[in-house]
Amino acid sequence: MRLIDASRLDVSIGAVSICRKLDLHIDNGQHWCILGRNGSGKTTLLHTLAGLHKPDSGTVMLGGNSLHSLPGRALAKRIGILLQDHLDTFPATVMETALIGRHPYLGPLQWEGPEDYTLALEALQAVELEQMTDRNVATLSGGERRRLGIATLLVQDPALLLLDEPTNHLDIHHQVRMLDLLAERSHAGDKAMLLALHDLNLALRYCDHFLLLFGNGETLQGTADEVLTQSVLERLYGHPLQCLQAARGPVWLPE
């Protein structure tokens, strides 16, 4: 089933063109990765698909509805995004922060009930934060805060997960743990994911489709075999690369 259909999408930020006439179709079960240099527009494209940034032209359709015609809470049940940064100006506990993921499911005057707490606790267990439900988020380490962001997204439970550098601040163990967890949830719920990642090797390990942003409006998409060749990747990053063969498949190293 098709989850999201972007057609003839023009997106830019300031004077920088991110993509021109981009057609992107994501079906459930697919795991997509956006690759590109710093400033190539990975974040802005994710925001555009989440409805947080208006494209210059083109349409984004969900099922039969355009993205902007869906009411906010209905949209939040279908698309969720892990933002690159978390802003914590006011004190909030870990549990309270995870609970905001339930917002799309509650009526305007409804308070969080026991089942909402159960769902939040379950998500916190999945990211190994269940021991610190009452901690103030301001006291968390960067990696713990990142895992809390992932837990909030799991509570939100959208059909399409947009993840902006989900491995930011995470140690190697937790990078793999979190991506395993997301892939497993996505598979179990027949969902789809679109990740922006800087680590090519993690991208290869978890994703089956790739969207390359060259930073000048040009894009390229397809499976690993179709697009991830040495010459394309070297052009994408502007850096020479070496490809090693490991048990899991190819591993790319910068020269």
Partner: protein
């Protein structure tokens, strides 16, 4: 903190503050006077003192404090800045200027409310519009913009008062410092307050999410733009109403939500109604002190709120600087 004991405590505090306020003053009153109020003995001197002199002023103090605390609470979420306060950011000054202009033109009633609201909303849009940086509020710019706009309104008020007849100059303190000496029974204030509390409850969960940032809120289905506009209007109405009752009283909106946050209250569905109760009680206590400390002289209550508010503001600013320093 659990809501029930919190609200029980705050209601007890409000009743105590009200009791003390009604019982204190230059004319001695005691239990028998209160008893004669309750039994409806209209002729007794104590009854007249309490009902005609003290009750309107006490009620006005409570309502004004509640409105200012609510306005502060709303503005803080919107700006994601615990330093936001209607007085510090010049919103009260805008309301006072609007009200004063209408008074000088010889109009009153609904014009007064309307002009105060227009002035408050204008300030709000100026401060928020000018300090909205690239995607987020820059704290320094916000505070500077607000303080400069407040100073600008202060100058306009000074100018208007310089033009106005001599006898109006007594009122200068009222508009610049906040004073409850002229307050009458605040019926419109009560109406605004009672309409505002359900709004606080209905918007509470969305406000909780807004506190995590506008992008996060939008991605969870909060209509950020609509909510922001609504909060502009609500905070302006609260501030304008408070200013028409008691002039520009500072720092209540800053201190009260902060005290509640220190008590562990974070959910805006609880924080906002609790702010109303605590803000009302606080201003009631401050005003009782203002009219009794230097008896028979009466101080403008704004002096007392500034006495607590200025150190609190500096402390919060210092704390924020510490935090930003650590982050980079």
């Amino acid at each position: 903190m659990r809501p029930f004991p919190l609200f029980a405590g705050l209601i007890l505090l409000a009743l105590t503050a009200l009791f003390v306020s009604l019982m204190t003053g230059s004319i001695d009153t005691g239990w028998h006077d209160l008893a004669s109020v309750i039994t409806g003995n209209e002729q007794a001197l104590g009854t007249r003192v309490i009902l005609d002199l003290r009750w309107p002023r006490s009620a006005a103090a409570f309502v004004t404090g509640a409105l200012l605390a609510l306005a502060g609470g709303f503005m803080q979420v919107l700006l994601r800045n615990p330093l936001a306060d209607p007085y510090v950011l010049g919103v009260s000054g805008g309301a006072a200027t609007g009200a004063l202009l209408v008074l000088l033109l010889g109009l009153g009633g609904i014009w007064l409310q309307g002009a105060a609201f227009t002035g408050a909303l204008l300030s709000m849009l100026l401060v928020f519009g000018l300090s909205h940086g690239h995607g987020s509020w820059s704290m320094n710019r916000l505070l500077l913009t607000g303080v400069v706009i407040a100073a600008g309104w202060g100058a306009v008020i000074g100018f208007l008062l310089a033009l106005s007849p001599e006898q109006n100059l007594r009122g200068m303190l009222f508009w610049l410092m906040g004073d409850l000496s002229y307050a009458t029974s605040p019926v419109s204030g009560f109406v605004v307050l009672l309409a505002g509390l359900p709004a606080a409850l209905m918007l509470g969960r969305s406000l909780n999410i807004m506190a995590h940032g506008e992008l996060t809120a939008a991605s969870l289905g909060v209509s950020v733009h609509a909510l922001r506009r609504l909060v502009y209007v609500i905070a302006s109405v609260f501030t304008a109403t408070a200013v028409t009752i008691a002039g520009t009283i500072g720092f209540v909106g800053l201190i009260v939500p902060h005290m509640l946050r220190l008590l562990g209250v974070r959910d805006h569905r609880i924080l906002l109604p609790a702010s109303a109760l605590l803000g009302g009680s606080m201003l009631l206590v401050a005003d009782t002190l203002a009219r009794t400390l230097l008896e028979p002289r009466q101080l403008p209550v704004g002096i007392l709120t500034a006495l607590v508010g200025v150190p609190a503001f500096l402390y919060l600013l210092y704390q924020a600087r510490e935090r930003h320093g650590r982050e980079g």
